[in-house]
């Protein structure tokens, strides 16, 4: 799943840097900052998905 999840990671980065809503503010901070803050948790979620997914693949292969 490494390549698939790399594409997902890149797509989120493209959303942030492609959209780049620098002039939209929430609680006094640019929306760009908040999108990145949400991204921090998304990266950890992707890491969990990868570990669970690849260990399932390994288990299938060893059986």
């Amino acid at each position: 799943p490494g390549l698939i999840l790399t594409v997902v990671l890149v797509l989120y980065a493209v959303l942030v840097f492609g959209w780049w809503p620098a002039d939209v503010y929430m609680a006094g901070i640019s929306l760009v900052g908040w999108l990145m803050f949400i991204g921090l948790f998304f990266w950890f979620l992707l890491a969990i998905v990868y570990v669970v997914w690849i260990e399932k693949v390994e288990e299938e292969q060893q059986n």
């Binding site: 390549l3 790399t6 980065a13 609680a27 901070i29 890491a47 570990v51 390994e58 292969q61 060893q62």
Partner: protein, 481 residues
């Protein structure tokens, strides 16, 4: 000189040195012990060790300082790139490169592409890691001179030799276990600091309001788009292109452990940066950024303002831990490149393991002295220097390493051209000053990628056994290397 903080930092240095002495015999048993801790590190210890290796002065001093000076979105860009290091490296190389069974990054290039690529890679490792030590030593000089009352040069020398001693004596064994302690000091320290700040400001919303009322531009995008994007790209790739971090995969018990280690390190880093957001906001609320000679000192000012002396001493030891735990890994990467890859790989293939580990020890001390001499008169701010090295290594190593793992058709000629063209393009761009800060790899890395693909396709395919290596890296059966 601040007595309480100095005593805590002194005790901390003594404890780290004891680790080096304790692991000396075990590290000298074999090259595998000295450079990869016998490939026996488990998930818990490995997660803190890889976190501590990545989390340097840049993650704490640099990120908070630039977040206060340039607006909190700049801090978020740091965090966005740095936390992505772990999953990005995990998806593309962690398990695969652990399965290759090598001890160093240049040795992987030898296994996949041959000796010529190994030598070029070893030279790039030595140059990149030596220059990456400089901002770490600079930061240790800033903190040491501030807390211990020494002048900057003396602080750089004392603290530089401090981490060199335990790293050279105990190799990867000492580095891993000191990193475990240092990672814990770092994370506990910054979480306590964040909680104290939140209590002082009566909650998160009030803290943000205080920061914005002191500095109305705190939430703004203040730099060109390319500066943010370049910073993100340079950090994103760091777990793939920095030998000091990649070597942690070699120390894991297995490919499975290497992946789990990266996942938990990601969570530890997430905790660090969420706490760092609070520290950055507190730094902005103090309104002192214009009164400081060096914005990297904002973090220290926050510690002083909010924490009593004993807690402040622990947090300052945490800052020192961030610096030393990254610099020791860089020393090990240089040591392995010269002693294992160049000396044993090409000069004396019959060298005994004990001689190679002894040479590794001497190389570490020599590399540390070179780094200290450069750091005495550093060429720039911490964050800028880290950006230079990250950009250089990404431009040279990024695509040759990833394509070596994922693309059977990648061959020796392609890897050589990709490595050299990326490095040269980066140096030309940074010398010309044509691009905004940190934006050089946006051009140099794609040059490396395109030329590596074109040259590989235009020349003879690699031999069958080299192509089969790519399949082997991706078989999901537990390795015994």
């Amino acid at each position: 000189m601040q007595v309480t903080e100095s005593i805590i930092m002194f005790i901390y240095l003594i404890v780290m040195t004891i680790f080096g002495i304790y692991f000396y015999r075990r590290a000298r048993r074999s090259e595998s012990d000295y450079f990869t801790a016998g490939k026996s590190i488990n998930t818990f210890i490995g997660a803190f060790a890889i976190f501590a290796a990545v989390a340097s002065s840049s993650s704490l001093l640099g990120a908070v300082g630039s977040g206060v000076a340039l607006g909190v979105p700049y801090f978020f860009t740091y965090a966005f790139g740095v936390i992505a290091i772990m999953p990005f490296a995990m998806f593309l190389i962690s398990g695969q490169i652990r399965r290759s069974g090598v001890k160093t990054v240049p040795e992987f290039f030898k296994q996949r592409f041959g000796s010529s690529v190994q030598i070029v890679a070893a030279v790039i490792v030595c140059v990149g890691m030596t220059f990456y030590m400089v901002p770490q030593l600079t930061a240790s000089g800033i903190i040491g001179s501030y807390v211990l009352g020494l002048n900057y040069t003396t602080a750089v020398i004392v603290l530089g030799l401090g981490f060199t001693l335990y790293a050279a004596l105990g190799g990867m064994w000492a580095i891993t276990y000191t990193d475990l302690i240092q990672g814990m000091i770092m994370i506990v320290g910054i979480v306590i600091l964040a909680l104290v700040i939140l209590m002082d400001h009566s909650g998160f919303s009030a803290l943000i309001s205080d920061a914005l009322s002191t500095d109305p531009a705190f939430g703004d995008i203040t730099q060109p788009w390319m500066s943010y994007f370049g910073l993100f790209i340079a950090f994103l790739w760091f777990g793939i292109i920095s030998p000091s971090v990649v070597m942690r995969n070699f120390a894991s018990k297995s490919a499975k452990i290497a992946r789990r280690t990266a996942m938990w390190a990601c969570l530890i880093y997430l905790t660090l940066f969420v706490s760092g957001f609070v520290v950055t906001s507190a730094g902005a609320s103090l309104g002192i950024v214009d009164t400081l000679d060096n914005t990297d000192m904002i973090f220290v000012s926050v510690i002083e303002h909010y924490l009593p002396a004993i807690l402040g001493g622990i947090m300052l030891a945490g800052l020192l831990a961030a610096i030393m735990s990254s610099a020791d890994a860089m020393l090990l990467a240089i040591s392995a490149a010269i002693a294992h890859d160049i000396y044993k790989g090409h000069i004396n293939k019959q060298a005994s393991e004990r001689f190679v580990t002894g040479l590794g020890l001497v190389v570490m001390i020599a590399a540390s002295i070179v780094g200290i001499l450069i750091a005495i008169d550093p060429p720039g701010l911490i964050a800028i220097m880290v950006g230079w090295v990250g950009g250089f290594l990404l431009s040279a190593f990024g695509f040759p390493l990833v394509l070596g793992i994922w693309w059977k058709r990648a061959n020796t000629q392609g890897a050589l051209v990709g490595m050299v063209s990326g490095a040269i393009t980066f140096v030309i761009l940074i010398s010309s000053g044509a691009l905004p800060t940190n934006a050089e790899p946006i051009i140099a890395a794609p040059v490396s990628l395109v030329l590596m693909i074109i040259v590989s396709l235009m020349t003879t395919p690699p031999p069958k056994e080299k192509q089969e290596l790519v399949d082997y890296y991706h078989t999901h059966l537990e390795d015994s290397n």
